[in-house]
């Protein structure tokens, strides 16, 4: 308590300095007068009385100093002094300050930009109540497929968990959806989610207007308001202008009337990170769209599930309980066909933390973002090394100033503190500039993610966390680059400094400066090598043949789940659509396909070669279900045999890719042979369907540009289970036309004519989906390239500055040499020799560091060896070139020194 009172008194006193000083003077004078009077009374002479009083008192100035230290905030006083002094320094040498601030702005800005992205994608917690309690429940498939993502759950499983689990409560489901949306004259698509009735309750958020969904809305036929919906804050502001009348508004979602009952709070984007749902509907909507069975089905895994941990229960305990309940729940809810699939048999229940929501983007981008943070950290280190060198130079010129300060009583810590404040005065504006740069470049970086939804959902505006991190960065920088000069400055011996006639000559600091250049060069070399390797990776990925034609091809996803045509009529519809589109002017070929390559969907099945007894064991291959003209639409040549035809006569024919033919019929031609599709059904023995191989197509990639072309079996489109085709009711129409626009319009026209009630999903341009499949690599390549260039630039500046400083320092020496007969060439060589030495050390050290770094990014590379000698040699040469160019200017200046002038200057 005393401490608090003292603090308060000190703060108050800080602001009344002048008045308090006057009072102190008055008080002390009065004390001396009283003492003098007493001495006079004792009989001393007036001078003696005064003198005795002063002696008894002690040193007046000293007492006043002690008093002031006790009274105010001496630290703040000193800080104010330092700031004023630093400002004067900056104003006197603005060029230096500008270079420093720009350098720091670039370094810190790059850091901020990457960190903003990292934060938005990886770290930002959901704006809900107690996000730490949230967990995601899913089926972990990684036991079977190492790269497998978690599988979602379904409603029966969720209900079973809610009933049986003691470790979680408030379980809710979430499924992202695109809906056709009509509101008055407005007719468009809307991105949204269907959620459990208790989802918003569980998340614990408050509506911005109206109310949120409740379990009462999730009943058959909707709740008291009919079918209720909640819209996002963003759309409330942009489409409805924040008007409160949106509550109660009637809109049409997928041909069903829906009432808007409320608006979600600002900044709430659901629980899936990087998604931006604009409308939330209850789970019951699924039943309304596709029939009650589809909502309650156990046959499909489609609901992302979240829950809250019970108080006192840890995630591990919850996971243990779930693992115990798992087999029973699955037995009770999943149909046998799915329950006994190998992936599900070996799967486990996963309880994952969900305080930052969940996103597929995360798993793709965690490693690249970390790599980028490292690179950007390296750039910042180069910045600091640069500035440190510059500061050292200036500090050595101020040796006399520091010596005088030391003589006047400044402690070592005081000097260091002063220099630190000077550094901070440059670092903070640099940080401000950096934040501005990051803000400006944010949207552009986001665009590189190649994910349109992420672009709209992630805000790259620097928020509080990012700003704090930036400022901490700036302070750290100031410490880093201020430490070296501060240390050497406070090390100056007072005598030698005051006596020295040449204040610029310094001995100790040269050693330290000679460390910074190789350090920068080594870091830059590492950055350049990494960037070169990543850039080569992207180039190789994009130029390597995927096997497909990529220009002027579109894939249009159809949603025919709710149209009247079923079974054979659906198959025939698809075929006729493709044929009709092909007839349209400008369209070359059109076909139907179950999968779109490079979208990340994989469909595999087991096949066996009937005619080959050695290969009687079924082996897995990739599968696609197609109609006629698929291969010609995608530019895949048919190497033997023929294409499939659009008639039932071909319903037992199939086409193999080259790899599949080699796999199943290694020594003979596969044409004409029979391939058996083995379908596992537990409880009964396997069934199979035999196909005759009528054609062999060229190899293509299936899912990722990185893979070698897998064996692919192409089956014909026929009727399948559940009144759908054997590929479901969400097939792609593949169109190759003279231009993308023609393809698009041909598709839309045909869709409106032949399946008018199905939702219109914008087609995807094939070349874009290929590019997006390597969005991660592209992001890495572009950004790392940019950082490498930045590093090179900064290193060049560092070398230039060092050399310029050296030349200035050695002007006298050079003058003497020239006067004694040294040629210009010899002087040039003298100056360059120093740079050459430092460059050599830097390149050597950098080579090792780069080699190490290249090996650690092995997993990102494609068809490039981490130890590729060309990359290293070229990078090394680039650095040497930059170093030499940077050194030429000061060397040129050295060469043009006039000896007489040099000797006269001190």
């Amino acid at each position: 308590m005393d401490w608090l009172r003292t603090c308060w008194s000190r703060c108050v006193a800080f602001f009344g300095v002048r008045r308090l000083d006057e009072e102190l003077d008055e008080e002390l004078l009065e004390h001396l007068d009283l003492a003098t009077d007493e001495n006079l009374r004792r009989g001393m002479s007036p001078q003696d009385a005064r003198r005795a009083a002063l002696l008894k008192f002690g040193g007046v100035a000293q007492i006043k100093e002690d008093y002031r230290l006790q009274r105010g905030l001496p630290l703040v006083d000193e800080l104010v002094q330092d700031v004023r002094f630093a400002t004067r320094q900056i104003v006197r040498a603005p060029g230096f300050a500008i270079i420093a601030i720009l350098t720091l702005g670039l370094g810190i800005g790059a850091n901020t930009a990457v960190f903003t992205l990292t934060h938005a994608l990886l770290l930002q917690t959901l704006p809900v109540r107690d996000p730490g309690e949230l967990v995601r429940l899913a089926i972990d498939l990684s036991a079977v497929d190492k790269n497998g993502h978690d599988a979602p759950l379904n409603l029966p499983i969720i209900e079973a968990i809610e009933k049986q689990s003691h470790s979680v409560h408030d379980v809710f489901a979430w499924c992202v959806y695109d809906f056709p949306f009509r509101d008055g004259g407005l007719n468009s698509g809307i991105h949204g989610a269907i959620v459990s009735g208790n989802a918003f309750d569980s998340l614990g958020i408050q509506p911005a207007a109206g109310r949120l969904l409740t379990p009462a809305d999730d009943q058959k036929g909707g709740g008291s308001d009919g079918l209720a919906a909640v819209v996002s804050y963003r759309i409330w502001v942009s489409r409805y202008h924040g008007d409160a009348s949106v509550v109660g508004r009637h809109v049409i979602v997928t041909d069903h009337p829906v009432t808007i009952v409320g608006v979600a709070p600002e900044g709430f984007e659901g629980v899936i990170a990087a998604e931006h749902p604009d409308i939330y509907l209850p789970l019951e909507f699924q039943g309304i769209l596709y029939g009650e069975p589809s909502k309650h089905t156990g046959a499909r895994l489609w609901l992302d599930t979240f829950a809250r941990l019970n108080p006192g229960v840890s995630r591990r305990q919850a996971a243990a309980e779930m693992s115990a309940l798992f087999p029973k729940i699955l037995d009770a809810t999943l149909p046998p066909a799915i329950r006994h699939m190998p992936q599900i048999e070996k799967a486990r229940f996963a309880v994952r933390p969900a305080r930052t929501g969940w996103s597929k983007l995360r798993s793709t981008y965690t490693e690249p973002l970390l790599l980028l943070q490292l690179m950007v950290g390296a750039v910042l280190l180069i910045c600091c090394a640069n500035l440190s060198g510059l500061f050292l130079a200036r500090a050595s010129a101020r040796r006399q100033e520091f010596a005088i300060r030391g003589a006047l009583g400044a402690g070592r810590l005081r000097l260091i503190r002063q220099l630190f404040v000077e550094c901070l005065m440059l670092a903070l504006p640099g940080a401000l500039l950096g934040v501005g740069l990051a803000w400006v470049s944010g949207p552009w970086i986001l665009h590189m993610l190649g994910n349109v939804e992420a672009e709209e959902a992630i805000s790259m505006r620097p928020n509080l966390t990012v700003l704090c991190v930036t400022i901490a960065c700036a302070v750290l920088c100031a410490l880093l680059f201020g430490m070296a000069p501060a240390w050497t400055a406070s090390n100056t011996s007072v005598e030698t400094a005051l006596r020295s006639s040449n204040p610029r000559a310094s001995v100790g600091s040269a050693g330290l400066r000679n460390f910074f250049v190789p350090f920068q060069v080594a870091l830059s070399l590492t950055l350049v090598v990494v960037a070169a390797l990543l850039g080569t990776t992207v180039t190789r990925l994009l130029t390597k043949q995927s096997g497909y034609r990529t220009e002027n091809v579109i894939f249009a996803l159809t949603d025919f789940l709710r149209i009247p045509q079923k079974d054979k009529a659906l198959v025939s519809l698809y075929r006729r659509m493709a044929e009709q589109i092909e007839q349209r002017p400008g369209v070359e070929q059109a076909s139907v396909s179950a999968i779109s390559p490079f979208l990340g969907w994989r469909w595999s099945d087991e096949f066996a070669a009937v005619d080959n007894p050695k290969h009687a064991v079924p082996v897995e291959a990739m599968e696609n279900i197609i109609t006629a003209h698929y291969f010609s639409a995608l530019g895949v040549p048919i190497l033997a045999g023929r294409d499939l035809e659009n008639s039932d006569s071909d319903r037992n024919s199939c086409i193999l890719s080259q790899a599949a033919a080699r796999l199943y019929f290694p020594h003979t031609s596969a044409l004409g042979k029979t391939l058996r599709n083995v379908i596992h059904r537990p409880g009964t023995h396997d069934t199979f369907h035999d196909y005759q191989i009528v054609g062999i197509a060229a190899d293509t990639k299936y899912d990722s540009l990185r893979e070698t072309p897998p064996p692919i079996v192409y089956l014909p489109l026929t009727a399948g289970e559940n009144e759908q085709t054997n590929g479901g009711s969400n097939l792609f129409i593949v169109i190759h036309a003279r231009s993308v626009a023609i393809a698009n319009s041909a598709y839309l026209k045909t869709l409106h004519e032949m399946a008018p009630s199905s939702p219109e999903i914008p087609p995807v341009v094939f070349s874009e989906s290929i590019r997006d499949s390597v969005a991660r690599e592209r992001l890495l390549s572009v950004l790392s390239g940019f950082f490498a260039l930045l590093g090179l630039l900064l290193s060049g500046i560092g070398i230039y500055a060092l050399l310029a400083w050296n030349v200035t320092r050695r002007t006298t020496e050079i003058g003497v040499r020239m006067a004694l007969g040294a040629t210009r060439l010899k002087v040039f060589a003298l100056v360059m020799r120093q740079v050459a030495g430092l460059l050599a050390i830097g390149v050597l050290a950098g080579g090792f560091a780069a080699f190490f770094a290249a090996h650690s990014i092995r997993s990102f590379l494609f068809e490039v060896q981490p130890g590729n000698p060309w990359v290293f040699v070229l990078s090394g040469l680039a650095l040497v070139l930059v170093g030499l160019v940077a050194a030429t200017l000061p060397a040129g200046r050295a060469v043009s020194i006039d000896p007489m002038q040099a000797l006269r200057t001190e």
Binding site: D2, T6, E27, H31, L34, F57, Q62, Q70
Partner: protein, 111 residues
């Protein structure tokens, strides 16, 4: 210089407080003189050091100040003991007495 001992910071505070307790409100000079008298001049004290000490006591709320008129009919700052200061005296007196008793026991042990 012999026979005079240096004054520790904490003890000076206590001496000032006790002086104010027994003498009532005093100005700085008066406190200093009184301390000199009471200690029989055995303390090696520069009178000026009383002022930082008084400031400390003021900051902690143990004394309060008021401007008044001194014996010389001029303005002087008078210090008086506050309620908190009285409590502080009790605390510190007790503490000193404990220390003194302990030391006495040690010093009294027969050789």
């Amino acid at each position: 210089m012999d026979g005079k001992s240096d004054v520790l910071q904490g003890t000076l505070d206590l001496m000032v407080l006790k002086t104010l307790e027994s003498m009532g409100p005093l100005h700085g000079y008066g406190i200093a003189r009184r301390i000199e008298q009471v200690s029989n001049d055995t303390l090696n004290l520069n009178q000026g050091t009383i002022y930082p000490a008084l400031l400390r006591l003021q900051q902690r709320g143990w004394v309060t100040t008021e401007w008044g008129i001194s014996e010389n009919n001029r303005r002087a700052k008078y210090y008086s003991l506050s309620r908190l200061g009285k409590k502080q005296i009790e605390k510190e007196t007790e503490s000193w007495q404990r220390i003194a008793a302990t030391m006495a026991r040690f010093l009294a042990t027969p050789r």
